[in-house]
Amino acid sequence: MIVVDAIGDACPIPVVKARKAIKEMAGAGKVCVLVDNDIAAQNLKKMAAQLGYGASSRQEGSGRYEVLLTIGNAPSADPEMDEAAFSCDCEAPHDAVKKGKLVVITSDCMGEGDPALGRQLLKGFIFAIAQLDELPEAMLFYNAGARMTCAGSAALEDLLLMAGRGVEILTCGTCLNHYGLTEKLSVGGVTNMYVIAEKMLGAGSVIKP
């Protein structure tokens, strides 16, 4: 079981932390979230009810609440389970990857203007994609976008997370070579222009930030 410490965190942070832990678990299991107020516990249970997770909570002394979230088919072991939150329990999480959706990252910046801002935005964009319920089928990185999949990239953690959940991550080999990054590739595989062209023409939708 994963324990998420959200003591001292204001809403919506306990929910955001819990969902991150659930995503990292990538399958059935239990996540125990510690919060310091009943309203935060209620918001966690509200989220669980909507997503079909089991949820039970109990107060552990003053200012400490434990919310046990049960994801997938694992039965809840908690005797004090909240009936209402179990209304649509026991549904395995569906496949996270959306077929036919392709994200292309062509630069280490998002949008035109201040490059420092652009780098920040791109990092935020990749983080946001990693939080989505439906992930793209593949992400292609070329030209300066190749920097994103290499050591030192601010988005590496999110990309590794997505790779772990089945997103195909491919970086242009010519580009890695051009920027002297061939040895530094840290997530996904290397690809070439034939594959890039094939993937882009074959995709249902190509998303370029």
Binding site: C11, P12, A40, N43, K46, F127, A128, Q131
Partner: protein, 351 residues
């Protein structure tokens, strides 16, 4: 850490920082009642937006006070929002703004320039409201908080109460909903620039312009403007509960609820405030959601900072009032109507 350009976020800024209505009612009900003063036309007994005290037959003070921690990082914008929110209570009572006093809590260690920009934002809104900034009070505190105490005047015959709606009235809302959800998403870096821009624009917009149009209709012995309140921390459903006064029911048409960009998407991502859950706990029992998606439920409980006016008006004038508002560039909507109180335990039906 905050740099010299930005203020640090507090745990839950804006009207999400309000104490829950349930808690508040318990405390207020235990306070000793002062001797009755017949000139106190609106006090806290009616949980209205501001207090109104009659000084002559045709003039009364409207007094209000509102302050809260930041919900945006830009100090000037925060000042504007806090001031627009405080000034709104005067408009919700049908009054005009006269004087305002600053209320400031500010950490001693923080850049004084930040305070200057907060107060500049506030002062600009007071000027826009046609009022005079007349002083204030500041104390050193661990977190930033800012707001105004505002005094306005109103003709006692033109006071707009928040609980005097009539059966058959049409409900008109003058700003879209969703600022609480969007600011909540922004706190965890998940709000889009477009959504945040729209939320800030909405929060910094004075209810003055809507109130001036309402005032044109609030005339005659049988004014068609029956009730008015502004939507703040208790959300649309919390403030509607006060408006219904235990006497009436309301039907809200979800398709007609105006929504800020992306707010529903963030609600579906559970980027929800504690205040929205407190609002649900307080009034949710009385709300019957008929086929409303989860995100719509959350939107209706969403605490608004510097939200719009909610008006309960005679159906004969509703369309004309709406058209006048649209002509003035106000994003107003007719969202439902008031009906006789049913006996099924619900007071609001969301259809």
């Amino acid at each position: 850490m905050a740099d010299s350009q930005e203020i640090e976020f507090c745990k839950g800024g804006g009207c999400t920082a309000k104490l829950g209505a349930g808690v508040l009612e318990r405390v207020l009900s235990r306070l000793p009642k002062a001797a009755v003063d017949e000139n106190l036309l609106v006090g806290y007994d009616s949980s209205d937006d501001a207090a109104v005290y009659r000084i002559t037959d045709d003039a009364a003070f409207v007094q209000t006070l509102d302050f809260f921690p930041p919900m945006v990082q830009d100090p000037y914008t925060f000042g504007q929002i806090a001031a627009a929110n405080a000034l709104s209570d005067i408009y919700a009572m049908g009054g005009v703004v006269k004087t305002a006093l600053n209320i400031v809590c500010f950490p001693e260690a923080m850049e004084l320039d930040i305070l200057g920009r907060i107060m500049q934002g506030g002062a600009d809104k007071v000027v826009e409201a046609g009022g005079v900034l007349a002083g204030g009070h500041s104390i050193a505190d661990s977190d930033v908080k800012y707001g105004l105490s505002v005094t306005g005047i109103v003709d006692p015959k033109r006071i707009l109460r928040n609980n005097s709606g009539q059966q058959g009235d049409v409900l008109l809302l003058t700003k879209p909903l969703g600022v609480g959800i969007i600011c909540c998403a922004d706190r965890v870096g998940m709000a889009s620039e477009e959504a945040m821009k729209a939320a800030v624009e909405s929060m910094t917009t004075l209810n003055k312009y809507a109130a001036e149009i309402v005032a044109r209709y609030n005339v005659g012995d049988a004014s068609p403007i029956h009730a008015c309140t502004d939507i703040t921390g208790f959300g649309l459903l919390g403030h509607l509960h006060e408006l219904l006064d235990g006497r009436l029911s309301a039907v809200i048409r979800q398709a007609d609820i105006p929504v800020l960009p992306d707010a529903l998407a963030y609600a579906d991502e559970f980027l929800l405030t504690a205040a929205a859950q407190r609002n649900r706990n307080f009034v949710g029992q009385g709300v019957c959601f008929e086929n409303a998606p989860f995100a719509m439920e959350e939107l209706l409980f969403d605490p608004q900072t510097s939200g719009g006016l909610l008006l309960s008006v005679a159906p004969e004038v509703a369309e004309e009032l709406l058209a006048d508002m649209h002509y003035a560039g106000i994003d107003a909507s007719i969202i439902g109507s008031l009906t006789a109180k049913g006996d099924d335990g619900y007071e609001v039906y969301v259809r």
